[in-house]
Each structure stands twice: as C-alpha cells, then as structure tokens.
C-alpha cells in the first residue's frame, strides 16, 4: 500500500512527457490528456488522504534503501491535505486554460504537469536535498508558465522572477551545505534526532544554515522583506499561471511548518524554535504591507497580488506560533486562501477581457456586459479574501485570532489583523464599486464601445471554474466543523515527532554514517 505514495510524482511526470513527446501539436488531445491526468491526480490525492487519515505517517523508500542513506518520501496528514489542495487547484487551472489561454503559447499543459510534479514532490519528500530538487523542478516549470504568452513586460518581470529564485536556490544550497557539515545527514527524520546532539562548537554554523534556509522559505512564502518579487511577477503573468502559483507561496509556508516544526522544533535542544522569533513580526509587517498595497493599487490585478501578500501575512502569523491551535488555524487559512486567491486571479482575467481599453485599471469604463454576474462573483471573492462572514476566510481568521489569544503579543497581533482586514475591505469595496458601478457613457468613447460590443456572450468554462472555486470556499465554510477536527488531528500529528521518526528510521538504528 505504501507504494502509492510515489504516484503523485510519477503521474504528472509521465503525463508531461507524453504531452511533449507524443502530442506536441494536438491541442485538443493535449487538453483531454491534461484534464484527465489532473482528474486522476485528484482521485489519487483523495485516496492518499483516506490512507493518511488513520494517523500513522507512512514512508516510501526509493530504491528500497534504508532511511538515512536513501531518499524517502513520507505521507502524513499534512502532506495528504497539501496534495489534495494542489490536485484540486491544478484541475481548475487546467480546465480554465482550455478556454483559450493554452493557445497563446506552446506546452502550457506540459508545464502545468511539471509544476504539479515539483509541488507534489516538495509536499512528500522527507529529505532536505530532495526538497531542493523538487523546488527546482517546480521553479523551472513556473519560469515557463510565468512567460507563457510572451510580451515585453512579461519578459522583464520574468527576468526578475528567475533571478530572485536563482539567488534563493543558491542560498538554499549554502544552508543545506552547512546543515550537512554539522550533522552529517540531510534526512529530515534523522536531522530531527541529531540536531539536538550537535556539539556546542558547531551550533553557530548549524544556526547559520537554518536561518539561511529560513530566508529561502520566506522568499517563497513572500514574507517581508523578501516579498517584492510577488506583486510584479504575479501581475505580469497570465491568469491561469498566476492561479497555479497560488500553491507555490504555500509550498514556502509548508516548508516552514515542516522544517522548523520537525527539525528545529521546540525540543531540538539549544537550537529549538530558532525561527519562531522571526516569523510573527515579519508576518505582521507582511500583513500591513499587503493591506496598504491593496489600498494603493491602481488596477485590479495589483489589488489581488497585494491581497495575496496580505493573506500570506495572516497565514504566517498562525504558522509562527508553532503550536497545535496555531497550526490548525494556519491549515484552515492556507486551504481557503489558495482557492480564493486563484478564483480572484481568474475573475480579474475575465473582467479585464471584457472592459475594452481600460482592461483592469481602476477607472471609469463603459458598462460591463454581464456586470451583475461578474459583480456578484467579485463580491463573493472579495468577502472570502477579506475574511468576512459567512465564507471560509472568516473561519480561518477567527481560528487565527483564537490561536493567538495566549501569545504575549496578542493585542498587537489582533490590532494588526483586524486593522489590515479593514484596509482590505475598503480597498476591495472601492475597486468593486469603481469597476461595476462607476461606468461611463459608452458613446463618449467609440473605441471602448466597440470593444464591449464585440464581447457580449460570456464563455461558460471560465465562469464555471470561478464559480466552482468560490463554491469550494462556501463548502469549506459549511463543513468547518469536521474540517477543523481534521486540521486539529493534523497538527497533533505534526507535534508528535517521535511518530514521524519511527515511520522513517529503522527501529534500532539511531546512528547514521556520521559522514566525517
């Protein structure tokens, strides 16, 4: 049964290879294969979630090498939730891209599958260097997706994105090198055992490595001051790619939960909890920067980008607690913000395509065709993103506020979270009323009138996908009770490090090679 664990990496890899080698010129076939494969992936993720629901972490040993020597994939509740989320998102993005985006450049679906391979691998792996490799797979595919469709501004923004991620990858290698030098292992379970026993002379080096690694994950998670790449990259890329990238910031958050919970957790001796003092202050600043950015945005896409930055701030406040309730709240908010952010990016794309010359600029434009439906969708998305009842953002935010109640900085955290919500609400309300209500007489602008006239019918697929994503947040809200219990079980499992170590390392081993 444990062999199923490797499939979330094998299925996208094989699909991508098939798409490139066998069907490079058949767009219809590509679409069928891609959507079919993501459906299969979703079924697989559901199966693995059921498998993981019994609460024991399972390990898959690649090549059947025993744990500290070979590479190991580990499936626990957290990995299963993340796999399910990435599969659901990829399915939505693949279907949305079929409505026309995949015609604007070649190999969209293959790149999407490669990205899914990297993301799934990062969620499953139990080895730090393997995490680096899957990060790279994910990033290489994301470079392709980011540039999909081409154009000057996209290329310029793409250069920034690639350069920043290459620097982050270099830092990752420096960090991994330091950790290997001081502990002699890169297996996460083995590290969790050995970090506590590092000699005092090596602790400074190990700490440097751990903090460098944290900088890398913080870059991925768009934590201030390493967030500047996100608004320009996400605003410049195509809508389906931006929606898929929603999972990539979450990979950063996942890596922080995993590495700083498991390896450098509270009981890791003198190095325990080294990331904890950094995360919450940075996350609060991230939240404020995001909220102010939402207020200052001059077009709808920047607005969504900054609201994503703000949501990462909310998420990392909860992650930074590194305790049971904090992780529960973080998971709840993570699932919600991924789906909502993706829905908003896709919705902005649909709106911008229908506004003629004004695109997504926040300025008066001729009346939007089908404005009522799009306005209703935008309203729902904004409610979910800002975190107002009754959608799932509210539940997530409530859990975060509840989890931070015991923290020493609780008044500050509450003030920032609630203040940022207010700023975001104002920003979204202003943008929504500008786009949907402040319309201009079309006769004043012949060019704009023509553009709107040409776009009367609304394509079914994009609206269906956005509707499904928003419906998912409603389901998350309606099913909040059982889901929160599942997240609680997940965070309990994360705190039980002995269980993870037992699943990966052979029972009597205890010692690795030492390496030096």
């Amino acid at each position: 049964m444990n062999n199923w664990i490797v499939l979330p990496t094998v299925v996208p890899a094989m699909t991508a290879a098939l798409l490139i080698l066998a069907l490079p010129h058949h767009l219809t076939h590509q679409r069928i294969v891609s959507v079919g494969a993501t459906l299969l992936m979703l079924a697989l993720a559901v199966g693995l979630a059921v498998l993981a629901a019994d609460g024991t972490p399972r390990a898959y040993f690649l090549g059947n090498w025993p744990a500290p020597f070979g590479i190991v994939l580990v499936l626990d509740r957290l990995s299963a939730i993340m796999l399910l989320l990435s599969a659901a998102l990829a399915l939505m993005v693949a279907v949305y891209a079929c409505a026309g985006w995949d015609k604007r450049g070649r190999h969209f679906h293959a790149l999407l599958q490669f990205q899914l391979l990297g993301v799934n691998g990062a969620f499953l792996t139990g080895d730090l260097f393997n995490l680096f490799v899957f990060f790279e797979v994910m990033l290489i595919a994301s470079y392709g997706l980011m540039l999909h469709g081409g154009g000057g501004p996209r290329l310029k923004a793409g250069f920034h994105y690639v350069a920043i991620n290459l620097i982050a990858s270099t830092l990752f290698l420096f960090g991994v090198g330091l950790i290997y030098a001081t502990t002699g292992t890169l297996n996460m379970a083995d590290l969790a055992v050995k970090v506590a026993a590092v000699p005092a002379g090596d602790q400074a080096l190990l700490k440097t490595g751990a903090i460098l690694l944290f900088a890398v994950f913080a870059t991925k998670a768009a934590l201030v001051p390493l967030h500047w790449w996100l608004p320009s990259a996400y605003a410049a890329t195509s809508a389906p790619a931006a929606a898929m990238f929603m999972i990539m910031t979450k990979v950063g958050a996942y890596a922080i939960i995993r590495v700083y919970g498991l390896i450098f957790g509270a009981e890791a001796g003198p190095l325990g909890g080294i990331a904890a003092p950094l995360v919450i202050p940075a996350a609060l600043v991230t939240l404020m920067v995001g909220a102010v950015g939402v207020l200052a945005s001059r077009n709808l896409r920047d607005l969504v980008c900054f609201s994503v930055v703000a949501s990462m701030g909310n998420l990392l406040v909860a992650v930074g607690l590194f305790d049971g309730p904090g992780t529960t709240a973080a998971l709840s908010y993570l699932v919600h913000s991924t789906l909502t952010g993706a829905a908003l990016f896709l919705l902005v794309d649909v709106i911008a395509q229908r506004r003629g010359r004004q695109l997504d600029q926040l300025e008066p434009a001729p009346v939007l065709a089908n404005g009522t439906l799009l306005g209703a969708l935008f309203f729902l998305g904004a409610i979910a993103m800002v975190g107002m009842p009754p959608l799932s953002g509210f539940i997530g935010k409530l859990l975060i506020l509840d989890a931070t109640r015991q923290a020493p900085q609780a008044p500050l955290i509450w003030a920032v979270i609630l203040g940022a919500s207010l700023l975001m609400m104002i920003g979204f309300a202003r943008a929504g009323s500008m786009i949907f209500w402040n319309s201009r007489d079309p006769s004043a602008d012949p060019g704009g009138a023509k553009a709107v006239g040409g776009l009367s019918g609304l394509a079914l697929i994009p609206v269906l996908v956005i509707g499904l994503l928003l419906a998912a947040t409603t389901v998350l809200s309606l099913g909040a009770g059982p889901l929160t219990r599942a997240y609680e079980a997940t965070s309990a499992q994360l705190l039980d490090k002995a269980g993870y170590v037992r699943a990966v390392l052979p029972p009597a081993a205890g010692t690795g090679t030492g390496g030096n």
């Binding site: 260097f129 490799v133 290329l155 290997y180 001059r298 600029q361």
Partner: protein
C-alpha cells in the same frame, strides 16, 4: 589548502553579490554564475577537505572522502547550468523585445494603459 578554498569561496561570493546589484541583465547573469561557482566549492568543502582518498568502499583505503557532497554538487551544477542557459535566453529576448537590457520594469504591466505612474524613463540607467 583550507585558506585557498575559503578565500576562493569568499571572493567569488563577494564578486557575485556585487555583480547581482548591477542595473543591467548581463552583469546580473555573471553574478549568478559566480554565486553558483561559489556554492559548488562551498558544498565540496562541507564534506571536509581530503586528498587522495577514495569515495567508495575499497579494501586498500586508509580513509574515505565523503561521497554525498560530490553527488550534491553534481546535481547543483546541472541545475545551475540549465538555469543559466534559461536566464541568458530570457535576457536576450527581453533585450530584443524592449530594446534595453536594463533590469528595471519600464511601466506597471499593461502597455497601452494611460500613464500609470511616473518613472517610465527609468529604463535608461547609466551603464
């Protein structure tokens, strides 16, 4: 040898960071290359510096060099090589499409939008 390896890593990192902070794409790419050289040497040193020792089991060996960093370096070299190729193509395409190899973003994205914000001529930085 320790001094040589350590100073080589340090100098290459410093050169890499200096070049990364330039405002044109070509030096930035060089900076990335220097940084990846530095990290490769650094990773090697993390397995401890040894001379004339086999990395795999041998009956005649008196000691071993650590094989794992060598595998890590190999992977890192492959990835950074591919990434350098990609970013060179990207910079070239950017240069051909926009007519400048400045790193800055000329405007906020949408090309035919009414002047979104000032600073559109930041693309002409001194070389």
């Amino acid at each position: 040898m320790e001094l040589l390896v350590a100073s080589a890593t340090g100098v290459m990192t410093a050169v890499g960071i200096y070049l990364l902070l330039r405002a044109r794409t070509f030096p930035v790419i060089f900076g990335l290359t220097f940084l990846s050289y530095a990290v490769n040497v650094f990773l090697f040193a993390m397995g401890r510096l040894t001379i004339n020792q086999p990395p795999v089991v041998s009956a005649a060996a008196t000691g071993y060099s650590d094989p794992l960093p060598q595998a890590l370096v190999l992977t890192a070299i492959v990835i950074s090589f591919g990434m350098t190729a990609l970013i060179v193509v990207l910079a070239l395409r950017g240069f051909l499409e926009t007519g400048s190899d400045a790193v800055g973003l000329a405007s906020s994205g949408d090309d035919d939008a009414p002047p979104p914000r000032a600073g559109g001529d930041k693309a002409r930085l001194p070389s």
